[in-house]
């Protein structure tokens, strides 16, 4: 069971309090009604599924109920950091070699 730091509650809580919500930074197109089938496919179905650093969304569903983002290594399952929804994708990751 993972231990996850909620950036809103500012503490580490067990995974049971959270629900994973898939890849982060996949924004819904503002003009979604007008996009092509290919663009819709890329938005809704295609995922990076990285082996290594992933940017993903979690919801502290049995806590503050907020959605937030996390950076995690999918090989070690270790969290690099978590940050609030709406904040930009971090450019520098603490402790991660380029």
């Amino acid at each position: 069971m993972l231990l996850i730091r909620c950036p809103y509650c500012e503490e580490e809580r067990p995974e049971l309090e959270f629900r994973n919500a898939g890849e982060a930074h996949v924004a819904r197109p503002a003009d979604i009604a007008a996009i092509s089938d290919e663009d819709f496919e890329a938005f809704f179905f295609i995922r990076s599924n990285p082996k290594g650093i992933i940017y993903e969304r979690w919801r502290h569903i049995h806590g503050c109920a907020r959605f937030f983002n996390a950076v995690r290594d999918t090989v070690s399952d270790k969290f690099v950091m978590t940050y609030k929804a709406g904040e930009p994708k971090p450019k520098k990751l603490p402790g991660v070699a380029k």
Partner: protein, 998 residues
């Protein structure tokens, strides 16, 4: 008992009470503190089991958790039968009943032993190469026979009356293993004030000090020192000591699973005691002090009862006061076995000879042994043994071969090939082990988590070094976890024992080219020869060797066999050990009872049961219930003499004739509030909301982004900035999550607040022509006339003196109301409505009647008439899409090519040609019933009922191009007949909707 092998003056339980027990119905006695194994040995019993494949007689190999042979069934009573219990771990209690396994008719005469004679045919992987002819015989003959022969013990056959418990715990330092190293580390950490949990699988702390008679610490013998430290730790408020507890799994981020055996050692456990308790511990730092496990020697017939690990014999003597024989031999490649010989000799047991593979063993221990008058045969090997059910002699020859053989009578043979560090938990923590070429051991290499290995599991052999390492590790772990500097000083070791290295792989006489049975994995009957055969057949990875031979896959998971197997494979491949690889260590370290993991989650606690406020009323009034998710919903209310059919028919007719009361509380309810509430609703639902007047309701339809129907429900607008949204029962939680997701991440600019109110409102649907008459006397402050409160409107006021949100709406097609009241008042208001209803002849109705009534009107149920692949158009409810809207969730997905392609399945009504025939839900529809299988199916029945109101059966179905097939005859092929149906519209009753206004 006359021939007791109990040595007076030896062991630590000399004054303990007698405990009587039986083994295979024969009565014995032991003493409290014994394990079943030590008690059997005290009675001179070595033969305790039969092996998996060859049914060879087997004795007791070890004195601990690594035991592969001595597995028995423990039968407390008819419902408490536990198979595959290690006799070396099971503590003796008065009245214990043990039975041997995998033998017939008896342990000493087992017919299955014919497999041993025929063993040349049962070589590694033989079953992959045969049993293929004739083809049908695998299922009918070979496999059943193989299955009968396989398996060890017998599964329990009654529900388990015991209960199991679970706890979570947090600490700064978790110490796994309570031997000398673990004790020292725990002490250092505890003195610094942090929370410490110390865990050990044995009944008492002390680990290898149980048998290490020469160790002296702080002026005491090792064991006495350990008990003193244990007592000190137990008295500290910041320390929790868990004995009889196995750390079985090391999971991500220092999360460790422990299983505590609470009652298995008790003669009469209290009714309130759990049998086992699962601890799930999150620790800042973990100290691994899991020790090392002695390996056996791999030589011909090394599985005879009476042949055991040297450390085990020593444990039985020093801890339990039991001699494993009267005339024992020793076979070793390692110093520590000499200590066993010395201890036995001192206790008065004759040591016939020590056979040492090393040419010129030397050192203090060897000198002492020689001085004690024990014969040492250096540079020699044991190449065969005498005896069948018990070893009677060993035959010794120079390890380099030659004819110079000598047979020495023995009644027990102690062996040691050296010690394997227990890196299991380290490896589970995803740390990487590294092979140390010098000591030929895999040792902790790269750490992946905040843990540290100390002592035997770290390859540290000397006690004094262990102590330094352990104390420092305990201090550092505590400091890293936020502790202060410790007050106590490091314990001082005055006398030591050393476990120098040994050997890996097959001993002389069992090397390549020989055909002897030199067992590597005892339980699974894997010999050195089998491993070589696997390599010969192309198995080059250790994982292949393991799987092909099953080496290390028995209940002991290779604790004694893995390293030997690996060395033999590497030798055969002429490659270095690390190149062949080490198999991955996986949880659990030792087998864990299912019950321990399940804990309380059994029966009614398996999953929470949700009951509505009116549940008790329904129960008192004879309702049958159905499970809908976690909810119990009243299904129908049979009266005396009614079956389900009769009850449902009556309920359906009564609702349309007078009225009915229905508990709709399980529907999901969400309060959408805020200045942007309407804008938010526009985005989440297909319908337009901006122009909906406060006080009015609308059917809301929700899509996923991919354009398929996700949920629906009636939404009431209470004010410009407030909506009362309802969802399906099953959809309540996911719709709330879906809304929150969009609100928080895609539309965070909207000022909206969402609150789940599903549990806050009890909902009583009053449906039928008399519904208004029923509620009228109870409602205050709301004009419920048609003019003031038309269909699809909502008002706030009071009913029975409590606040209500009163909806005028209908899921039956009749005039109807849904009375929302705070859940606490649900039952009271229901009772009041029921009393009024009685005056009009109303009934209570359940979900079945509700389903029929809505189907008569063609109202869909999301999840039944739609299934996650159905579009708005498929369901025929395009009117629910706001045509002028430029955005809502699903607006793009629903226009994808396949979702707008012709020929999609569309929702239609079906009428059977024979009105009495009710179709089966899920039945498939074809155009041509005479086509051969596989048939082209053009749709399926989604809802189907007998409609008493229509006087015939009715059905809804999804049919390809269905709306263009009105009036067409289609066919529903059933196993016994084909049913003709006509495609119709979806409304079967009151097509004009006149009933909505009575």
């Amino acid at each position: 008992m006359a021939d007791s092998f109990r040595i007076s003056g030896a062991g630590r339980f000399s004054h303990a009470k007698t405990a009587r027990f039986t083994f295979d119905d024969k009565p014995y006695s032991g003493i409290e503190g014994d394990t079943l194994a030590s008690a059997l040995l005290a009675n001179g019993v070595h033969l305790v089991g039969r092996s998996f494949k060859y049914h060879r007689p087997r004795g007791i190999l070890s004195a601990g958790a690594e035991e592969p042979n001595a597995l028995v069934g423990i039968h407390r009573d008819a419902a408490r039968k536990t198979p595959n219990v290690r006799a070396t771990v099971q503590e003796l209690y008065d009245g214990l009943t043990a039975v041997s396994q995998n033998r017939w008719p008896s342990l000493s005469f087992d017919v299955g032993a014919v497999n041993d004679v025929a063993s040349p045919f049962f070589s590694a992987g033989f079953y992959y190469k045969t049993f293929m002819w004739p083809k049908a015989a695998w299922k009918s003959l070979y496999e059943p026979k193989i299955r009968e022969a396989a398996g060890l013990g017998v599964s329990p056959d009654q529900p388990d009356p015991d209960h199991y418990s679970a706890r979570f715990a947090h600490c700064e330092v978790l110490v796994l293993g309570g031997g000398a190293a673990g004790l020292a580390a725990a002490l250092a950490a505890a003195e610094s004030g942090v929370r410490v949990i110390l865990v050990d699988e044995q009944a008492e702390l002390g680990g290898a000090l149980r048998f290490e008679s020469a160790a002296r610490i702080e002026g005491q013998d090792g064991w006495t020192w350990a008990q003193g430290i244990a007592a000190r730790l137990k008295a500290m408020p910041n320390v929790r000591v868990l004995t009889r507890t196995t750390a079985f799994g090391y999971y991500a981020q220092n999360f460790v699973g422990l299983t505590e055996r609470v009652t298995d050692h008790l003669s009469s456990p209290g009714m309130d005691q759990p049998r086992e308790r699962l601890w799930q511990v999150r620790a800042r730092r973990v100290v691994l002090a899991t020790g090392a496990i002695e390996r056996h020697m791999v030589f011909a017939d090394n599985d005879r009862p009476g042949i055991m690990l040297a450390s085990a014999a020593r444990t039985y003597l020093n801890h339990y006061g039991v001699a494993v024989g009267r005339n024992v031999g020793v076979y070793t490649a390692n110093d520590s076995a000499y200590a066993a010989a010395l201890d036995l000799k001192k206790a008065g047991v004759n040591v016939a000879a020590i056979v040492d593979l090393r040419d010129n063993p030397s050192g203090d221990l060897i000198d002492q042994t020689r001085a004690a008058g024990i014969e040492i045969h250096g540079g020699r090997a044991v190449v065969s043994v005498g005896g069948k059910l018990r070893i009677s002699s060993m035959t010794v020859q120079p390890r380099t071969g030659g004819k110079n053989q000598r047979t020495i009578p023995v009644d027990a043979l102690l062996m040691s090939a050296g010690w394997t560090p227990s890196v299991h938990l380290f490896s589970q923590s995803r740390g990487k082990v590294a092979f140390n070429e010098q000591v030929k051991r895999f040792l902790p290499g790269t750490y992946a988590q905040d843990c540290i290995s100390i002592g035997g599991c770290n390859g540290t052999d000397e006690l004094s070094t262990c102590m330094d390492e352990a104390y420092a590790a305990g201090l550092k772990a505590a400091k890293d976890a936020g502790g202060k500097t410790a007050k106590a000083a490091k314990p001082k070791v005055e006398a030591d024992e050393v476990w120098s290295r040994g050997m890996l792989g097959a001993a002389p006489g069992a090397e390549a080219g020989t055909t002897v049975k030199a067992f590597v994995d005892f339980q699974n009957d894997v010999t050195a020869k089998d491993i070589r055969q696997a390599v010969h057949e192309g198995m080059r990875s250790i994982e292949h060797v393991k799987r092909f031979t099953t080496n290390g896959m028995a209940t002991d998971q290779g604790k004694t066999s893995n390293m030997h197997g690996l060395a033999i494979a590497a030798d055969e491949l002429s490659r270095a050990i690390p190149e062949v690889g080490l198999t991955t260590f996986r949880a659990p370290y030792t087998p864990v009872t299912f019950g321990s993991i399940v804990g309380h989650a059994r029966g009614s606690l398996f999953d929470p049961t949700r009951r509505t406020a009116m549940h008790d009323w329904a129960e008192r009034n004879g309702a049958a219930f159905e499970d809908v998710g976690q909810w119990k919903r009243a299904w129908y209310f049979p009266r005396a003499g009614e079956d389900m059919h009769a009850a449902v028919n009556r309920e359906c007719v009564t609702v349309r004739k007078t009225a009915g009361l229905f508990d709709a509380s399980t529907l999901g309810k969400i309060e959408v509030v805020g200045p942007d509430a309407a804008a938010f609703m526009e985005l989440l639902y297909t319908n337009p909301w901006q122009k909906l007047d406060p006080g009015r309701c609308r059917y809301g339809l929700m899509l996923r982004e991919d354009g398929f129907i996700y949920d629906d429900g009636v939404v009431g607008r209470l004010a410009a900035d407030r909506f009362h949204v309802t969802t399906t029962t099953g959809g309540a939680a996911r719709v709330m999550n879906h809304m929150e997701d969009y609100l928080q991440t895609e539309f965070p600019h909207l000022k909206v607040w969402l609150t789940s109110t599903s549990e806050q409102w009890a909902v009583i649907a009053v449906q039928g022509p008399k519904s208004r008459d029923i509620i009228a006397p109870l409602v205050e402050g709301i004009d419920i006339s048609d003019a003031a409160m038309p269909h699809m409107s909502v008002r706030e006021g009071k009913i029975c003196g409590v606040p209500t949100r009163l909806f005028r709406m209908s899921f039956s097609g009749e005039r109807g109301f849904e009375v929302n009241v705070p859940a606490d008042y649900g039952e009271t208001v229901w009772e009041a409505l029921w009393a009024e209803g009685q005056k009009h002849g109303a009934c209570a109705y359940g979900t079945e009647a509700m389903h029929i009534l809505r189907a008569e009107k063609g109202y869909i149920i999301v999840g039944q008439d739609t299934d996650g692949t159905v579009t708005v158009n498929d369901a025929g409810i395009d009117w629910a899409i706001g045509r002028k809207k430029t955005d809502f969730v699903g607006i793009r997905g629903m226009k994808r090519p396949d979702l707008v392609a012709p020929g999609r399945k569309q929702l239609v009504g079906l009428k059977t040609k024979d009105p009495k025939v009710v179709l089966e839900e899920g039945a498939q529809i074809v155009a041509d019933p005479n086509q051969p299988v596989p048939m082209t199916m053009i749709g399926h029945v989604t809802s189907s009922y007998w409609s008493e109101n229509c006087g015939r059966s009715i059905a809804l179905a999804l049919v390809a191009g269905g709306r263009d097939r009105m009036g067409e005859t289609l066919h529903v092929p059933m196993p016994d007949r084909t049913i003709e149906v006509e495609v119709t519209g979806t409304v079967f009753f009151d097509e004009k909707g006149e009933h909505l206004n009575g």
